[in-house]
Amino acid sequence: MKIEAIIYNIPYISISMLIPVIFSLLIAFTKEAYTKHLALISVSANFLLSLYMAILFDTSNSQSLYFYESYTIIDELNISLTLGLDGLSMLMFLLTTLVSLVAVVWSLRDKQINLRLKEYYIAFLLTESFLIGVFASWDLIAFYVFYELTLVPMFFVIGIWGYKLRLYSAYKFFIYIFVSSLFLLAGIVSTASQHYKKFGEFSFNYFDLLNNEYSLPFEIFLFFLFFIAFAVKTPIVPFHTWLPDAHGEAPTAGSVVLAAILLKMGTYALLRFNIGLLPEASKFLFPYLAILGIISIAYASWMTIVQKNIKRFVAYSSVSHMGFVVASMFFLNKIGFKASVIEMFAHGLTSASLFMIAGFVYNRLHTFNMDNLKGSVKFMPLFAIIVAITGFASMGLPGGSSFWGKFLTLMSAREHGMELAIGVLVGGFFSAVYVLYMLKTLFLDVKEESVLIHFKDIRGAKLLAFIGVIIPIFMVGFLPFIFFGFYERFLDFFTSNILNR
């Protein structure tokens, strides 16, 4: 089967990448009074554009490359900026524009963000642009460039507008991901050199590299070069230690973008590159990696339960969810991939919502400590509903977004054997425990002083931000076929490609 590139007259992806860049320039050179408006216009425009592109996207043909564009960078080495969206990228692209919109809407009324507004919004807009680049690039060097570039604005977001330990966390975030991605760079150039040895020319194009053949030991070596980078980014236990710090100390909108999209870069790349480019090594290593994923689920769930800081609590819960994504992916069957992708999307929504809950609570109580948060939602009925919906959706209750991911993960594990399925089930059990624990703390525990405090309920921009993620949460829960439709054909193609090579 050959991948077909569908070219439109209008370079949609470039436009969606350039909108944030142009608006950042506008923000940089206009008065600070206009900053928020400009940022809001930029992300809204991009979201609408992405919806329009989703309509143009023909779901019955989702293995083809839509909106294909290609610009040469270095001719001799076949490095080019090749952009295109297939079913998987399309979904991630939608998630990116949606979450960027939510993050900016949230920031409009965030009390934490009162200094250096221009730089703050520029950082978010640039992150959006780079993330689109990550999900739409089909050239490995271009992918790497965008993958690394997302680091820089996030480094500033954590370091400047973060909470108490912000500098420590910013350093840790940058160094972990930068150093691990150097291994990725080594892996990328090694695949290109391998292409030279077989075909007589360098190439960094994904489709050229698909033709590469390696000896199994070398393929496993390459697999690990790629895997180190993505395992740190995802993160998979034991490479997760940067995450609670970075997510815990970042400002709310920063955590939202970090958890909802930046982590998806790791899992997206694992699926696209590790499994797609190196299928033999994946088949060889799959039991270990699937078990690593299951360990991630269980370990991170335990770690979540003992956290006292609600942001670190949410951060660890992300690690556990990513465990589901990685485990289901490395079951290497179609249901597993299906589960993995829908879980990526679902986690993007629930984690965004959870971090906004943490941010909102901090706004009212000025603390992240779980002990001080007891019963804090009592006087905020609307907010309480949001917390309940998010919590149950994240737990995997039917009707919520995470249900399909967890359910399908179980199914795909069952294809390999009952033992793995039980492993997933136990992990899933723990992940339900921590959500229940959080809900209990916020709803049922009683703290005497809290009776005296009259909080204002959620309203305005922040409510809108929550609605922006809760509608998709229910959409994934009740209408999953819309989202499955985006990548169903792609998965048929992808799975047959891997299993029959």
Binding site: I73, Y171, L185, S193
Partner: protein, 488 residues
């Protein structure tokens, strides 16, 4: 060799291929003469614009240059030498923009400065285009002697003298070693042309090996490879900062070119020993440079050690002994010249403030004092770190490609570790500038538009050549091909 032959070697028609060198050479002598006869106040007014004008004329003469081999094979004008010369003159121009105010603020205006830096530039240009041992030796001396004097230019300063003294002794030893090696190579082959020496099929191979080892040690000292690097941080710290910028950019570029030129030939005969020794030196150099840079308190020393570490990266590309390795190193050298010149010139700009003492801590909150300068400096630091889409990333990615092409996995691993270590100090500067409050309000009087323009150009090209590397890549690619084609 009779005098007729010597004269006959200079065909007038071919002088056009050394036109830029001739212009620079004439300019140096005019400056020398003017320095003798002008009054100090006239010198200040005339010498800087005259020098800059001469450089620009030299730049404009490049389209007239014919490529080819000249002067009886002693002087090679190929794509590699041309691109190096163009960038050397461009960077010299940016350095020149800083010189006038820098020296007049220190009450030490010297007319000598202009002709010495011009002669040094001439030496670098000659060094970039010869295979002939004698020519290489003369050019090496021309560059080095110029650097010794320039380093010691701040007459009252102790560290300036100390740095120059160390540089003089180390540089003298290294040149002595290189010429000693050249003697052995001559004994082996009876020729002073490196191409002939290395393709010569002689009996006494040990003479060649001995000669090459000495010759390479000489160059290792010049480029600051560990363990021959001891002079480098002291000289770079002691020298007036614009001079440091010149040494770290044009000097480094020029000293590496002869090594790049011999690499295809050596790797043919001594492939394994070459890969092993150069790879080992590269590994040690980048680890040592980065680790020591981590603990520096002075920004100039920090950047010097980062320069040592970069020598390690270049050597790693050279160790790969492959065509892609040559192209990678040439690209990386040119772009490193740009970013290191930019970084040192930023320091030179800040040094105009009276309270500035080059401590790292003084960078705290620089963003609030100089928003644009801090942004430019951040771009340059990210380029040194190798964050895309800056030039440093493209350079490192190309070196990685060449290493993986030659399957030097150990060197790749060391380079990853070394780059990881370097994250520590580059990031600290960025954190200080952007995330800490300022210690004090710093301002700079006596700004000049040329300084601003040259800083903008350097920072912008650090990004531009990374996003669109094909601007220079075409020339580099051709020059690399030619180096290897000479072999066949």
């Amino acid at each position: 060799m009779g005098i007729e032959r010597l004269v006959g070697a200079v065909e007038i028609g071919k002088l056009s291929s050394v036109l830029p060198e001739l212009i620079i050479f004439t300019l140096a002598f005019i400056l020398f003469a003017l320095d003798l006869f002008l009054k100090p106040s006239q010198k200040k007014a005339i010498l800087p614009p005259l020098t800059a004008g001469g450089y620009i004329i030299a730049l404009l003469s490049f389209p007239l240059v014919e490529t080819g081999i000249n002067f009886g094979g002693t002087y090679v004008v190929d794509k590699l030498s041309l691109i190096i010369k163009v960038f050397a003159i461009l960077i010299a121009l940016t350095v020149l923009a800083f010189s006038r105010i820098y020296f007049s603020e220190r009450k030490s205006f010297y007319g000598e400065y202009y002709y010495i830096i011009t002669f040094t530039l001439l030496g670098a240009m000659i060094l970039a285009s010869s295979y002939n041992l004698i020519v290489v030796y003369v050019a090496l001396e021309l560059v080095s002697v110029g650097f010794y004097i320039l380093t010691a230019l701040l007459r009252g300063s102790f560290i300036s003298k100390e740095g120059a003294f160390k540089y003089l002794i180390f540089g003298g030893i290294s040149i002595a070693l290189a010429s000693y090696g050249a003697v052995f190579m001559y004994i082996y082959s009876g020729s002073v042309d490196l191409r002939e020496i290395l393709t010569h099929k002689g009996e006494d191979l040990h003479y060649l090996i001995l000669g090459l080892v000495f010759f390479m040690i000489g160059f290792a000292a010049k480029v600051g490879a560990v363990p021959f690097h001891f002079w480098l941080p002291d000289a770079y710290e002691g020298a007036p900062t614009p001079v440091t910028a010149f040494m770290a950019s044009v000097g480094k570029m020029a000293f590496f070119i002869p090594v790049i030129r011999v690499m295809p030939y050596i790797s043919e005969t001594f492939h394994l020993p070459w890969v092993l020794t150069v790879g080992a030196i590269a590994g040690i150099t980048m680890l040592y440079g980065n680790v020591v840079a981590l603990v520096q308190k002075n920004i100039k020393r920090l950047l010097s050690y980062s320069s040592v570490a970069h020598s390690g990266y270049f050597l790693a590309g050279i160790a790969s002994a492959s065509l892609i390795g040559v192209k990678a190193v040439v690209y990386f050298l040119i772009v490193y010249a740009i970013i290191s010149a930019g970084a040192f010139l930023t320091v030179a700009y800040l040094e105009k403030n009276k309270d500035w003492s080059n401590r790292i801590q003084e960078f705290s909150g620089l963003r609030f004092n100089f928003p644009y300068l801090a942004f430019g400096f951040m771009v340059l630091l990210l380029a040194m770190l190798g964050v895309p889409p800056t030039v440093g990333f493209v350079g490192k990615a190309l070196v990685f490609t060449s290493l993986s092409f030659s399957s030097l996995w150990v060197v790749i691993l060391i380079m990853i570790i070394a780059t990881g270590i370097s994250t520590g100090y580059y990031l600290r500067l960025i954190v200080l500038m952007y995330m800490k409050d300022r210690e004090k309000t710093i301002s700079v009087e006596n700004k000049s538009i040329y300084e601003v323009i040259s800083l903008i150009l350097l920072s912008a090209s650090a990004v531009l050549l990374g996003v669109l590397p094909s601007i220079v890549w075409r020339f580099i690619s051709e020059s690399g091909d030619i180096l290897f084609k000479g072999l066949k």
